[in-house]
Symmetry: C2
Subunit: 103 residues, 2 copies
DNA sequence: ATTATATATGAGTATACACACATATGAGCA
DNA sequence: TGCTCATATGTGTGTATACTCATATATAAT
């Protein structure tokens, strides 16, 4: 873990650190969905979804694709979901261990 | 990836999204180090290091351990570093692919 | 061309957050 | 006890950021 990695990773983590953005990613899963679907799925305002989609897009975490009047968004590949899942498992495991020890 | 995971993951990502915090974690690596070492290694002010250490501590990403006048900080285990490394590799791979395609 | 629908963008605002400065706590030693 | 060193905490401040409202753009249909 060098400085290069820090500069590479921290902007991505900053993006993922916003709950609504993470929810958007989760609502996509492996499918491509139009913005209106995301709005419905998350209950966020259309404006706010668009706002966060832009950041996700600029970070390369999501890819837009025009289909007629709709713009479908998708994850570039399934790897991110796998990594998130692994992270989540690590957290479960960690908190389990933390209960046993102290802090 | 459910809502539970989002609520669990996003605070952690928020913590990791701050470059200085990530640098602190990297400067620790697998070793335990006193705060003064971290200050030297990162070039940050003592106050600022303490500020970020508190957040890392409260998030369970770092564990304090008093040794005489010093307080040593360590990662709870090596897993986090592995995951960060994997994340970093994924990013390298992704940006490589993105150059080949478009966006 | 006009209208409707889908999405994006700009401006304004309130809140969160990183940081610095000053000071407090707590351990070890004279 | 008093002093020094290591670390933590409280307060203030500037800046970033999430959100809303109003409006712009782009596509499709009549």
């Amino acid at each position: 873990m060098s400085l290069k990695n820090v500069n590479q990773l921290s902007p991505i983590f900053k993006i993922l650190g916003e709950p609504n953005r993470l929810r958007i990613l989760c609502s996509l899963g492996l499918e491509c969905r139009p913005v209106s679907d995301i709005v419905k799925a998350t209950g966020m305002s259309q404006t706010n979804v668009s706002f966060h989609l832009r950041l996700l897009r600029e970070a390369g975490l999501v890819r837009p694709e025009r289909r007629g009047p709709y713009i479908y968004y998708c994850l570039p590949n399934g790897e991110l979901l796998k990594i998130l899942d692994q992270f989540s498992k690590w957290l479960d495991d960690k908190s389990y261990k933390m209960d046993v020890t102290e802090n």
